[in-house]
Each structure stands twice: as structure tokens, then as C-alpha cells.
């Protein structure tokens, strides 16, 4: 089960400048760029690029890994996909030997995406970070805070507790009432 809602409509991403091929226009350029990004993601496990491009590759990366998990490396279509999407062929080994066992039992998406601050002065390009979960690098977000002592949570927790105890007492009261009715009849 693919645990990621990939986009239904492709982004335009026309006119991509690629290092070896130069500028490619149109859907072909988009696909070459996405291939490059998927390759980079599988190799470095964390890439920083234009946020919209990160978001676009996410669907393809997830789909690739999902297909690999489902079908394994003896499946012809899967191998063709891996061959197409991964420009560097040593990564095909990585996909099946490292990523598939890693994500075998995941019940969530395999990637994370973050927005990085816009650099001022500049063109105002919105950049993002795309990473594979379980990568060896330190986490992007500093650390998850334990918010249970923040005043709103304290009050809500108390309210929740209150509600649950009253619900239980109402439940037992109802049970008692119904049992007394049964005994009467």
C-alpha cells in the first residue's frame, strides 16, 4: 500500500538546465530533472533544492521504493523503472539492498520534506529539503519538544481527565440503573 498521496497533476517545470545536456525544454526537461533529483536523493539521502521540485520528486521516489518493496529485484518492470530513474547504476544495488529492507515494515511515507528560509537578498526562491527517513545524518529539526507542561496542554489534560471520569461514572450509573430495571421486571 503506497503510503503517500502523490500529486495527480504534474507541475510544469519547463526549461530545466541540466549539467551535461544543457537546457532542455518541456516535459522531457522535467523528467530529466526529476531523474536527477531521485538519483541524488537515493545517493545522498538528503537533498536541498527548490521546494516545488522536492515536492515533485517525492511522488516518484516513493513510488519507486514502493514498487521495489512490492516486487523485489527479479521483477522486470521494477528493474526497468530502477534503471530509468536512477542515473547512476550502483544505486540500483543500494535501492534493493539498503532501502527495501529499511522500509519493509513502514506504515508511513518514506520521505520527509521541509522548507528552508528564503535567502535575502536574492531572487526569493523557496528552497526545501527532501530526505529519506532513517538516514544516518543528524535530524533536520533540532529536537522534538515535550509540550505537556505548557499551560494550554495542562488545562486540556485536566479537562480530558475530568470528562473521562465523569463518563465512567455516568456509564456505571447507567449500568446500575439498567440492572435495577431488569431486576424489577
Amino acid at each position: 500500500m503506497l503510503r503517500f498521496p502523490y500529486r495527480a497533476r504534474p507541475r510544469k517545470m519547463s526549461r530545466q538546465r541540466l549539467p551535461e545536456e544543457g537546457i532542455i525544454v518541456g516535459q522531457e526537461g522535467r523528467l530529466q530533472r526529476l531523474r536527477q533529483l531521485v538519483t541524488g536523493l537515493v545517493r545522498y539521502e538528503r537533498i536541498e533544492t527548490v521546494y516545488q521540485h522536492c515536492d515533485e520528486t517525492r511522488g516518484y521516489a516513493e513510488r519507486l521504493i514502493h514498487t521495489a518493496i512490492r516486487n523485489g529485484d527479479q521483477h522486470q518492470h521494477t528493474m526497468e523503472m530502477a534503471d530509468y530513474w536512477l542515473n547512476e547504476k550502483d544505486l540500483i544495488y543500494k535501492l534493493f539492498d539498503v532501502l527495501v529492507p529499511r522500509y519493509q515494515n513502514y506504515s508511513s511515507a518514506f520521505t520527509n520534506i521541509y522548507r528552508t528560509p528564503i535567502v535575502y537578498p536574492g531572487r526569493g526562491t523557496e528552497m526545501g529539503i527532501l530526505e529519506l527517513k532513517g538516514n544516518p545524518w543528524p535530524d533536520v529539526l533540532p529536537k522534538q519538544r515535550d509540550n505537556r507542561y505548557v499551560i494550554s496542554n495542562v488545562l486540556l489534560q485536566a479537562a480530558r481527565k475530568d470528562y473521562n471520569t465523569s463518563k465512567e461514572s455516568r456509564k456505571t450509573k447507567n449500568e446500575l440503573n439498567s440492572s435495577s430495571e431488569n431486576s424489577e421486571t
Partner: protein, 190 residues
């Protein structure tokens, strides 16, 4: 019919080329056959001396088959103003941003939807050091076929735990903010 603007220069240059060609060939086509362009740059006038009467040209066939893009209807004032005065490229730098918050860890400012740049910078420098320790070969050209594990100074006793994995030794102390539990699930408060 006057030609569209883009075509005028092309047609003009073609006419000049045609004229030069006939000059070079040494003969001009007979008066009946005229290399006439339908989309003429000048209005057609019935002069006696005018060689170019309104007969079909070779090029007319070619250009006829190309349907040139042309606006269907007039762009309304509203649409024009909307495009001109739109947020992007016009207003956005004039409006103050209300979404700037201070990072709770380091106190630096960032937009609400982004991560803290200062905190991420420390992560980035550490990642670069780790990649350097990993080596160019393993990183860029020959990806290891097992999970990569980084062991810092003083973590030698955990080596047998990672048997079968690609271990990289880091010649420094583990930073305080870098948790040891690399391969565990996300933080569960319970």
C-alpha cells in the same frame, strides 16, 4: 490585408532575397507568374508599373498552413490591472511579514513555515564532516550496499552491535545535540 507585425520583417527579407535570386539567375519570371505574397507589407494598388499583381506566391501555401496565435478577445481593463498590480513582483515587498517567529532553541528569527536556518546550519556542517569521513568513493561513486553507521570517539564498544553494516569512524566527540538513537522511530512522548 496587412501582415501581422512579426511577419513583416520576415516577408520583407524574403522579398529582398527573391529579388536578389532572380537578379543572380539572370532572368525574371514571366509577367503572368508573379512571386506574390498574400500577406503584403504594403497595401495592394493596381498600378500599371506594378510588377507585383495580386497572384498567389509559392510561400502563401507554406504560410497558409501555419495558424498563428492571435488574441481572441480584448483583454479587459480588470484583467490587465490584475496582472499588472498582482502581489508577486509588485506588492509583496511592500507588505510587512507577520509570520516571523523566533526559534525556541536558538532565538534566531525565521518565517513560521520554514525551519530555523541557524539550527540547520549546525546540522549541515556536521553532515558535511560526516560525508568527508565517509570518503568520496563511498559517497559519490560506489554506494555501500548496507546501512551506513557512524561511530564517534568513545563508541567503540558498540561496534559488534552494528555487525554487517558499513561503519564509518568519526575522529571527534559526538555533538551533544546529535542523538545516539539513529535507527529508532520518531519520538513517542509516552
Amino acid at each position: 490585408m496587412a501582415a501581422p507585425y512579426g511577419m513583416t520583417r520576415l516577408l520583407g527579407s524574403f522579398r529582398r532575397f527573391e529579388h536578389a535570386l532572380f537578379q543572380w539567375m539572370g532572368f525574371y519570371p514571366p509577367p503572368g507568374f508573379q512571386a506574390e505574397l498574400v500577406y503584403d507589407i504594403q497595401p495592394v494598388e493596381n498600378h500599371v508599373n506594378n510588377q507585383q499583381s495580386s497572384t498567389k506566391s509559392i510561400l502563401q501555401d507554406i504560410f497558409d498552413s501555419i495558424l498563428l496565435a492571435v488574441p481572441k478577445s480584448r483583454r479587459t481593463a480588470e484583467k490587465k490591472r490584475t496582472r499588472k498590480m498582482s502581489m508577486k513582483g509588485h506588492y509583496e515587498y511592500a507588505i510587512p511579514k507577520n509570520n516571523i517567529i523566533a526559534c525556541l532553541e536558538c532565538g534566531n528569527w525565521h518565517e513560521k513555515e520554514t525551519i530555523c536556518g541557524h539550527c540547520y546550519q549546525t546540522v549541515k556542517t556536521e553532515t558535511e564532516e560526516m560525508q568527508e569521513a565517509m570518503g568520496l568513493d563511498a559517497l559519490k561513486y560506489d554506494a555501500p550496499r548496507s546501512e551506513v553507521v557512524f561511530l564517534y570517539d568513545g563508541e567503540e564498544q558498540e561496534r559488534p552491535k552494528y555487525d554487517g553494516k558499513y561503519i564509518v569512524e568519526m575522529k571527534k566527540q559526538r555533538p551533544e545535540w546529535f542523538s545516539k538513537n539513529l535507527m529508532t522511530k520518531a519520538h513517542n512522548p509516552k
